[in-house]
Amino acid sequence: MLRIPCPVCGPRDHTEFVYEGDATVAYPALDAPEQEWFEAVFLRENPRGPHSEIWHHTQGCRALLIVERDTLTHEISGARLAHPGMAAALEEDA
């Protein structure tokens, strides 16, 4: 079991989350050239080591998180809210 430190709910089992994959993928503008869309939809870095990835806390606060996890050791070194405005607001509250 992975334990994901949700910034809203605290440490939770990974079974509360849905894995949404590589967080470094940025979707291009709707009218961007086909090649850019192809790369965003299909191509992945797929590193053996540190990986930024999105986990959706569907059975908790329902927030989208960016989790820093090592794909070889499964060690999790951090988790923050994916929405930059919300992440900043949470920081201010603290």
Partner: protein, 422 residues
């Protein structure tokens, strides 16, 4: 090569096991090979064998960082089938199944291929209609498939939960499908390839590629703590699970592949209870067969997140056991002996890639998701053809890398570009 036959077995019985030759040679690397195949799993060994046998290219090396069959070739659930629907997959997997049917004779090595039938259970009328379409398409392509209604199924496989949580309507069956002994496949290919002059280099890790004017002309390896270069006219990658790692080193860049892990389980040995491969799809995801030793061999879903760790997590363990009890509650008191995880090349459409690449001298065999074992002879056969002739075999001409950009994905399950769900 010392051919195996019944007289040899009798002779060994009289004279002792000392009469057997070493099964394959362990040579030192030569400075140059016509073809280097990276990856000493089933696919890599099969590729080397068919290069030597069919294409008469015998100056070939298979480079393996660990030991033969120590990766996914040695850690799978051994199912062999060709019940595919999409063009690209149908012709390829049927090509592979045909090679399986004669493989033990071809290699003079008993791979224990057992065509015991692959039984896909059906639980709802909607599922029955969808599978009728699939199995009809298979039959139109010359692949065997049939329907067993509930009465027939109860006669053939009495130990399923017919009126449990998920009442069973019937099953779609491929009678020619079955299982094989995974280690025997690796050892059989290694022995036959070695006998034809292929160098099998274990404990040798490819750490980089030697390039000249944009073309791959060799590999950098680490062997026994020392680094060296081995040159080659052509280099083929057959390293499913770690394809992305080597693709980055070779300059192929990002691929439509994510690495995920899949668990498998083996129980203690039982008396014969199941003489087919049973698949519980639809309400759950679970597949089970009984090995010749008597162990139940089974598995289910991926762990669900990118990973190169060969260790599985407990939530999926629990999920697989729950699936098992839903469909075969009679196994409730049976103990699990072993559990393990392997790392899978999960491609974005769930289908494999066997192709030459944009880099001259570099060939790619990847994206096996969790169906690579059944493809072993077919994959080696067509990959060898692709490397030797510089063009695809009829059975892999659709398994290209550019199909994703062109919109010709081979998405058997219709799940879309999400590696984790294929």
């Amino acid at each position: 090569m010392q051919r195996y036959n019944v007289w040899q077995v009798i002779r060994a019985g009289l004279k002792g096991p000392g009469i057997w030759d070493k099964v394959w040679d362990q040579p030192e690397p030569k400075p140059y090979y016509d073809v280097i195949v990276v990856g000493g799993g089933g696919h890599g060994l099969a590729t080397a064998y068919y290069l030597a046998k069919v294409h008469k290219i015998r100056n070939v090396a298979v480079i393996e960082k660990g030991w033969l069959g120590g990766g996914n070739a040695g850690r799978n659930t051994t199912i062999v089938r060709s019940n595919y629907m999409m063009p690209g997959n149908t012709e390829f997997y049927e090509h592979s199944l045909k090679l399986w049917e004669t493989l033990s004779h071809e290699l003079n090595y008993n791979v224990m291929f057992s065509q015991r039938a692959h039984v896909n259970l059906v639980f709802t009328p909607g599922q029955r209609d969808a599978m009728a379409r699939r199995y009809n398409i298979m039959r139109l392509n010359g692949i065997d498939g049939e329907y067993w209604d509930r009465d027939e199924l109860m006669k053939r496989i009495p130990h399923l939960a017919y009126d449990g949580r998920y009442p069973i309507l019937g099953a779609y069956v491929q009678p020619r499908a079955g299982t094989a002994r995974h280690d025997a496949v690796n050892w059989g290919f290694a022995r036959a390839a070695s006998a034809l002059g292929v160098d099998i280099l274990q404990g040798t890790e490819v750490t980089g590629f030697v390039k000249k004017a944009g073309a791959v002309v060799g590999v950098e390896v680490r062997r026994g703590g020392e680094s060296r270069e081995i040159m080659a006219e052509k280099v083929g990658l057959a390293v499913a699970g770690h394809t992305s790692v080597l693709a980055h080193k070779a300059g192929l860049g990002r691929l439509p592949i994510e690495t995920h892990k899949l668990q498998a389980f083996v129980s203690e040995a039982l008396k014969p209870i199941l003489d087919t491969v049973v698949v519980f799809g639809g309400p759950g995801h679970f597949y089970i067969s009984q090995s010749d030793k008597g162990s139940m061999v089974f598995g289910g879903d991926l762990d669900g997140y990118c990973s190169y760790a060969q260790k599985g997590n407990l939530p999926i363990y629990e999920d697989v056991m729950a699936n098992c009890l839903a469909i075969m509650p009679c196994l409730g008191r049976v103990r699990v002996l072993r559990q393990w995880a392997g790392v899978m090349d999960m491609s974005m459409d769930g289908s494999p890639i066997i192709t030459k690449t944009d880099i001259p001298g570099l060939y790619l065999n990847a994206g096996w998701c969790y169906g690579g074992f059944k493809a072993t002879p077919g994959s080696g056969h067509v990959f060898a053809h692709t490397i030797a002739k510089d063009e695809p075999h009829e059975a892999n001409r659709r398994l290209t890398l550019d199909r994703y950009a062109r919109g010709y994905q081979i998405d058997e399950s219709g799940h879309g570009p999400w590696a984790k769900v294929h």
